[in-house]
Symmetry: C2
Subunit: 344 residues, 2 copies
DNA sequence: CTGAAAGCGCTTACAG
DNA sequence: CTGAAAGCGCTTACAG
């Protein structure tokens, strides 16, 4: 490296003719506790400061067996939902003296598996994961090792782990019922191909809302789209839903990016929202209130998700709640906007 | 900790009756290089795998003097601009075998200073910073230590450092001229209080665009808003700009969040966009094309910003370009949408 | 009040 | 082909 020679504890100790032990105590603010004389403490602190001493956390972590780092693995930091939650997580972690190591899995289970191990290598003290939900093995491994971790957004319904999620079922039920309450009867759903628990829950919420209104959910009214190509597929999905006999008068979108892309397509096709078709979205973008028309959504409590995840994790790390598993299901909030129009 | 006993190099070596050296070579894929017999290699690898051996990167880093980690310090990971860039940075870093440690400074120079030192403590190999621009001392410190770092978005114009930024001046000039070209004459600017280089550049770009059209920039047409309270202040700013004699027929917003909030306020005040006032924005939100009306913006090349930053940093870390400083100014792209209307 | 020494888990130059 | 040993920079139990 090009760096200048760094000052280490030993250097300071040598220069000042005292032991590393003393220097270490003082610099860790354990001087008083160990009854180091005020004078010695002052000398050490000043000398350290003057020479820009930077302690080596790697050494410290190695010695103490913890790194004061938590790992965050999410599908994609560029997604506004995850970036909001990541912001909260980092803020809370910072306040507790932890730094966060983050990585995106891009929905690739293999990559996610690697990331988990990479984080473990780096001796993170705990892990927060919004999983691809296809890493049973890794999750079992973490459990077996009794390694502290908490899942959020996506969890493994069959496994006994700590997690914090949102009530995806009820959220979707709420928006669907909102449409039904306004008199819409032929309600389509545009969602993602199954595989993720939240998506499954949202599908079920949609179906049950219809059933509550004595409408039989029709498979042909549900379009499941490939995540990677949703940008292209969605146009066909919409054309399919609004043409022919089954012309929908409303569409539920199960994610904010499906909804925004959906609106783009509806505009392109000159389909009037909400006149021809009303739309609602699960989750939102910050601009959904100024979009044309503003989109009715159920909003996820990102602050609460993030802070709850950190809290549970810290509890786990401190061994507070020994074997017991902590789970939390948070409620979504319905935000009514113009995209559903008035009562028909 | 609650963790089970971990397998270390030594454990494997003992169990297998060979030396730690050999195990280390093999597990680092230097087996062939060091002519370890195929058989021994196989035994080691299988045994390691079977017992879920996880190497300790802290120890490795300490020993090798590098951590294979880069630090990212940004104002706020929840801001879509930064989260997009962070995504790119992390992706590129991951491909090069680096993990990224990130922290948000929330525009607080003190916190930023602490974060820089915390990252240094953690022995990151390099740093990417979108600075608060109020840490001259820290920057000088990094330079003095010859520590590899690159700035992006915000840089210190007086200092000789590596950085990658966007042409804020020209970008704002472009959007302002676009308005002028459509016949708008009374163009206001809503921007942030000075302090950041990009903001200063945007102000200048706005002024010079007017001057190019023989219009004298008026201080009273420029409203500078406090970042923390922009949500509240912006309403007064707009009322101020559109009322009385100086009624503006266009407003330039210097950030995407000023623009979106501005649009909210304009709607609330029932001011028609673009009929009464046209608007343009520096930078955008992903939904700006479906907003009502879609907002004309200059777009920042987030991919290029992120990848360039990582490349420069890696060059620096590899000592490739010794003392020489690398800087890059990227162009913005004008995206014309309905918020400026037709030629008057 | 202060210090000598072992230990954390790796890497790697050196020796055979 | 393989190993003994020093070293990375800390922490901390123990001793005085």
């Amino acid at each position: 490296m090009l760096k200048n020679k760094k000052y280490s504890l030993k250097d300071i100790a040598n220069d000042l003719n005292i032991s590393k032990t003393t220097v270490s105590f003082v610099l860790n603010n354990k001087g008083d506790e160990n009854k180091i004389s005020a004078n010695t403490q002052k000398r050490i602190k000043e000398y350290a400061k003057k020479n820009g001493y930077v302690p080596n956390q790697l050494a410290r972590g190695l010695s103490r067996g913890k790194s004061e780092t938590i790992g965050l693995i999410i599908p994609n930091i560029s997604d506004t939902f995850y970036s909001k939650v990541a912001g909260v997580i980092e803020k809370e972690a910072q306040e507790q003296g932890y730094t966060v190591l983050f990585s995106s899995s891009y929905e690739d289970p293999k990559k996610e598996g690697k990331l988990i191990h990479s984080m473990l290598n780096r001796q993170v003290d705990g892990l927060i994961i919004a999983s691809t939900q296809q890493n049973q093995k890794e999750i079992d491994f973490l459990k077996k090792e009794k390694f502290p971790f908490v899942l959020f957004d996506r969890y493994y319904p069959d496994k006994d782990t700590d997690y914090v999620v949102v009530d995806n079922y009820l959220g979707t039920k709420k928006i669907t019922k909102h449409l039904l309450g306004l008199g819409r009867k032929k309600i389509g759903l545009i969602t993602l191909k199954p595989g993720l628990e939240p998506i499954a829950q949202r599908l079920q919420g949609y179906k049950d809302a219809l059933i509550d209104f004595d409408i039989k959910p029709e498979e042909s009214h549900i379009v499941e789209i490939e995540r990677e190509s949703y940008f292209k597929e969605i146009e066909n999905a919409i054309i399919n839903l609004v043409s022919g006999e089954k012309t929908m008068d409303a569409i539920v979108f199960s994610t904010h990016y499906l909804a925004s892309q959906g609106l783009r397509v509806l505009k392109k096709l000159s389909i009037s929202v909400p006149k021809d078709v009303a739309i609602v979205s699960f989750d939102e973008l910050s601009a959904f209130d100024i979009v044309d028309p503003p989109i009715t959504s159920v909003i996820q409590p990102t602050n609460e998700i993030g802070s709850t995840a950190v809290n549970i994790l810290l509890n786990k790390m401190n061994g507070a709640i020994h074997g017991k598993t902590e789970t939390k299901v948070l409620e979504t909030k319905l935000e009514i906007r113009a995209s559903c129009g008035q009562v028909l």
